[in-house]
């Protein structure tokens, strides 16, 4: 079966954005707007320790002194930060429960998304897939985490960050804000003040996490900002592969998503972090959609540690994110593999930062940007070789594909080298889908939309093949869906 043809049929049934429905569920929300009381309310609601509240308040006060960044190549009307709900939770979820107690309406929501919250099930439509543990975050709170028992037997902690603050406060306190400090940037600081939930992962020394971990984020409530915070700590010699997925209902209003993800890899540890971002992108005219303003950063703290970011960014009205690696440990490795698709009126400004501090540090950046419709797609990246990054190596390949003559592709790399033994190589190209390629495919019987999806998937192959296999299939389909209507 032609995967894309099947997907196209699915999409026809569901409308252009297949996750655009809304769950009817009773919600508890804090009053709209942001002030110290709201910060206190969120902290109290989660019964947090005092130090956590103090940290949030420091962040909030610092945020008041900051202004929104304007350097990214994205345009949007000013956000009224007082017109947002900073806390929204399904009623009767005082924290993650056993699966039996989860509201059946919520279970149905995740079922509809193809995300299994019952441990005996595997990801929808994928036969023979390995087990995947899931943390499901619905608006501001985590509603369920699967396979906890099995993971615990390996010493792996996988839970919501609220739960971690209750059960492992010392671990959270030790690492939270050490990679992305609360003063980091406007959105990260806002997140530090009001983050509501997110996932916490701790892999003990020497443990190879026995299954993929994943978090599915769902924004459901109206006018709600989602501010999740994820912290992953991989102790010496450990390994974990983590995946996040995100969807939201179709709404005419824009919704703000300002997440922070911090990764810490100690000596010999490896973290693979994969994202399939499919927030609602808005309609063809640019109405609605998620503002996805995200700070993701990993610290390779120990020698021989490794962090790999893989992202497939197809959703959101606006994407502003630069998953980065700080290569502190000697011989540490940072990798960034990205596919960013912007169609219709979407705007994406995304890339990475590779900060080489230790000796023999290596980084690799493969970025594939696809622009269609009237969209703008910007790769923005920084590679810095510090004075002590002896024998540092970076290779960057940035390719842009334009579909149609009304879209834009921008490449803005910053390359800073302060070490002569370090070697930096950067290449960038732009191209379009050749008329000859399309004709060749069609002559062989492949329809136009399918041919576009096929060629674009080929263009993105180097990135998609870095995803865990079962998600690669999903991502390939998404590529086809995202470009629907971009030719002809």
């Amino acid at each position: 079966m032609a995967a894309t043809a099947q997907t196209v049929a699915q999409v026809r049934d569901l409308g252009k954005y297949k996750h655009g429905w809304e769950t009817e569920i009773e919600m508890e929300t804090a009053p709209k707007g942001l002030n110290e009381d709201i910060v206190r309310f969120i902290s109290a609601r989660k019964d947090e320790p005092d130090w956590m509240l103090d940290w949030r308040l420091k962040a909030y006060r610092h945020w008041l002194t900051m202004t929104e960044p304007t350097w990214a190549m994205v345009d949007y009307p000013a956000i009224d930060f007082q017109d947002i709900y900073y806390y929204a939770a399904p009623k009767n979820t005082e924290g993650p429960k056993s699966l039996d107690e989860v509201d059946p309406e919520l279970l149905r929501t995740y079922e509809k998304l193809g995300i299994p919250l019952k441990e005996q099930e595997v990801l929808a439509g994928v036969q023979g897939a390995p087990k995947v543990a899931v943390d499901a975050v619905f608006d501001s709170v985590s509603v369920a985490t699967t396979f906890k028992k099995e993971l615990e037997s390996h010493g792996v902690i996988f839970c919501s960050i609220s739960e971690a603050l209750q059960n492992h406060p010392e671990l959270v306190r030790k690492y939270l804000g050490t990679v992305v400090p609360y003063t980091d940037n406007f959105y990260a600081t806002l997140n530090s003040a009001v983050f509501s939930d997110g996932s916490f992962v701790y892999i003990p020394p020497g443990v190879h996490c026995p299954m993929e971990l994943s978090t599915y984020f769902r924004i459901n409530a109206k006018d709600t900002g989602q501010f999740e915070r994820t912290l992953i700590v991989a102790e010496e010699g450990s390994y974990v592969s983590y995946l996040e997925g995100c969807t939201a209902p179709m709404r005419d209003e824009n919704q703000l998503h300002a997440a922070v993800v911090e990764l810490v890899a100690l000596k010999d540890a490896e973290i693979k972090y994969s994202t399939v971002q499919n927030w609602y992108p808005g309609d063809e005219t640019g109405k609605g959609g998620i503002y996805n303003f995200v700070t993701k950063r990993g610290a390779c703290r120990g020698d021989d540690s490794k962090i790999r970011w893989t992202q497939v960014e197809t959703g959101s009205a606006i994407t502003w994110k630069y998953p980065s690696c700080i290569l502190q440990g000697d011989n540490s490795v940072g990798e960034f593999y990205s596919v960013a698709i912007a169609n219709n009126a979407q705007q994406a400004d995304t890339g990475t930062k590779m900060i080489h501090l230790g000796r023999n540090t290596r980084s690799r950046i493969i970025s594939k940007g696809i622009s269609a419709g009237r969209a703008r797609n910007t790769y923005r990246g920084l590679v810095r070789m510090g004075p002590k990054a002896l024998n540092g190596r970076n290779f960057t390949q940035c390719d842009s594909l334009l579909i149609g003559d009304r879209c834009g592709a921008h490449t803005v790399p910053y390359i800073e080298s302060r070490n002569r033994t370090a070697k930096v190589e950067h290449e960038a190209t732009t191209s379009r889908i050749g008329e000859d390629q399309l004709f060749y495919c069609r002559q062989r019987g492949i329809g136009e939309e399918d041919a576009v999806a096929l060629i674009v998937n080929g263009f993105c192959k180097e990135v998609l093949q870095e995803l865990p296999m079962e998600f690669a299939v999903e991502a390939q389909k998404l590529v086809g869906i995202s470009l629907e209507g971009s030719v002809g």
Binding site: M385, D405, S417, T429
Partner: protein
């Protein structure tokens, strides 16, 4: 680490000595003989206001994120230097190492006919001083200047606009080919206070004309000076303008140069910049490919050591379909030198069938040298081929080993490889006679560079 540093159109504050920076012109040129037309007064005043509003760019201004002018703001400068006493014999050897056929000399930004030798040029070609052209009311010069002064272009251009007074003017009429290279020798020389001078140069190449300009910038003093140059180039349809610049200013000089070229249908602009001197230097090229068939080649080579800072910034605007650009910059850094390469290639909407390629390579020879590169692509048409590449690092260890294994001593092997590295850029110099002198400069620099 904060996010990537903001891109702001303007930021920064006027230099503390702002009054000096802006009022000099109001009292007219040093010799009190301002023969400039009335419109110029208004233009200067406007520009002074623009500069006052911006102030000198600091590193929060995106275009200046890697080049700091803090050193400049700390200097006390002589804004209206008296004409320096320079003897013809003291002028440096010519770029070609022989008596030039045609040479116009500027000292501290002012054209000095007595030091120059300008023969009759073919077909009514004019090579003169801007002050003279303005005084005589040359219509083409006034028109172009008025248009270019109105265009925005950042604080330093505004500063130059506000001091608009002299510089060289080259006008080549339609269809005229000027075979002999035209050499412009720009001499900077100090006084009690470091002088500040801001020549405004114009190159107007008529339709189908051909001309080659060699600019040679040298310092005749140990001390510093501040040269803030703006050169406007207008190339008519099918014109070919070659511009070769050798920047060998004094080691304490601050050299900030902007060249703004607009190309008509089928025109070609070929630029080569060889940077050796200056404490802080910036060579900025803006090329606007305004009509189909316009084509530019921007190449450069730079050598920097000690505490030198050299910046090459280019911006190519493919404003029309079927336009081409090619860029190659190569540099060698030693000591605590810092280099910057920023290259922007823009392809506008509907500018289809465009090709734009760019490459920047830097060699770091010392532990403390630094290079910052920012190549940018802004593409708004789909049927285009654009690419950029950038590398930074040491000499290829394998090549070095290969040479040594053949018996070449390490020092010599390094020198050979550095020369070979730069020659790739120098080979692009269209003017064959220029290549050898440039290569000799490279060899001399390699031989003289202090061993670390």
């Amino acid at each position: 680490m904060a996010g990537l540093v903001p891109i702001a159109e303007t930021a920064g504050t006027a230099a503390d000595s702002g009054a000096d920076w802006l009022t000099g012109w109001r009292s007219g040129p040093a010799d009190g003989s301002d023969a400039a037309p009335d419109w110029l007064g208004a233009v200067r005043a406007d520009a002074a206001d623009r500069f006052a509003a911006h102030g000198l760019p600091d590193r929060r201004v995106e275009d200046w994120r890697y080049t700091s002018l803090a050193h400049l703001t700390g200097l006390e400068l002589d804004w209206a230097p008296a004409p320096a006493d320079v003897a013809k014999e003291s002028l440096p050897a010519l770029v070609f190492g022989r008596e030039a056929d045609c040479r116009l000399v500027l000292v501290n930004g002012q054209v000095r006919p007595a030091l120059s030798s300008v023969p009759a040029l073919p077909g009514g070609t004019v090579l003169t001083s801007l002050a003279g052209a303005l005084a005589s009311g040359h219509p083409g010069v006034a028109d172009l200047l008025k248009r270019r002064v109105a265009a925005t272009g950042g604080a330093l251009k505004a500063l130059n606009d506000s001091w608009l007074e002299d510089g060289y003017v080259l006008i080549v009429p339609d269809g005229v080919t000027v075979d002999m290279p035209i050499e412009i020798l720009s001499v900077g020389t100090g006084g009690a206070l470091p002088p500040a001078y801001q020549p405004r140069n114009l190159i107007v190449a008529g339709a189908g004309s051909r001309v080659t300009v060699v600019e040679h910038h040298v310092g005749l003093c140990i001390g510093g000076y501040f040269a803030n140059l703006v050169t406007d180039v207008a190339a008519g349809a099918e014109a070919i303008v070659r511009h070769c610049k050798v920047q060998d200013e004094s080691r304490e000089a601050i050299h900030i140069a902007l060249l703004d070229a607009a190309l008509d249908r089928g025109a070609m602009f070929d630029s080569f910049c060889f940077t050796l001197g200056g404490r802080i230097s910036r060579n900025e090229l803006r090329v606007s490919l305004d009509a189909p068939g316009a084509h530019c080649r921007l190449n450069g080579a730079y050598l920097a050591g000690g505490r030198q800072h050299c910046d090459h910034t280019t911006s190519v605007d493919h404003a029309a379909p079927e336009t081409h650009s090619d860029q190659l910059y190569k540099g060698v850094l030693d000591g605590r030198a810092r280099a910057v390469f920023q290259g922007k290639v823009t392809v506008r909407q509907d500018a289809q069938k465009v090709e734009g390629h760019q490459m920047s390579r830097a060699l770091l020879l010392s532990e403390t040298a630094e290079v910052n590169t920012k190549p940018e692509l802004f593409i708004h048409a789909d049927d285009v081929q654009c690419s950029h590449g950038a590398t930074a690092g040491d000499l290829d260890a394998e090549a070095l080993f290969y040479l040594r294994s053949r018996g070449v001593p390490e020092g010599q092997a390094r020198q050979l490889l550095v020369e070979a590295f730069l020659n790739e850029a120098i080979d692009a110099v269209a003017l064959a006679g220029m290549r050898l002198p440039l290569e000799r400069n490279v060899a001399r620099w390699m031989a003289e560079r202090p061993r670390s």
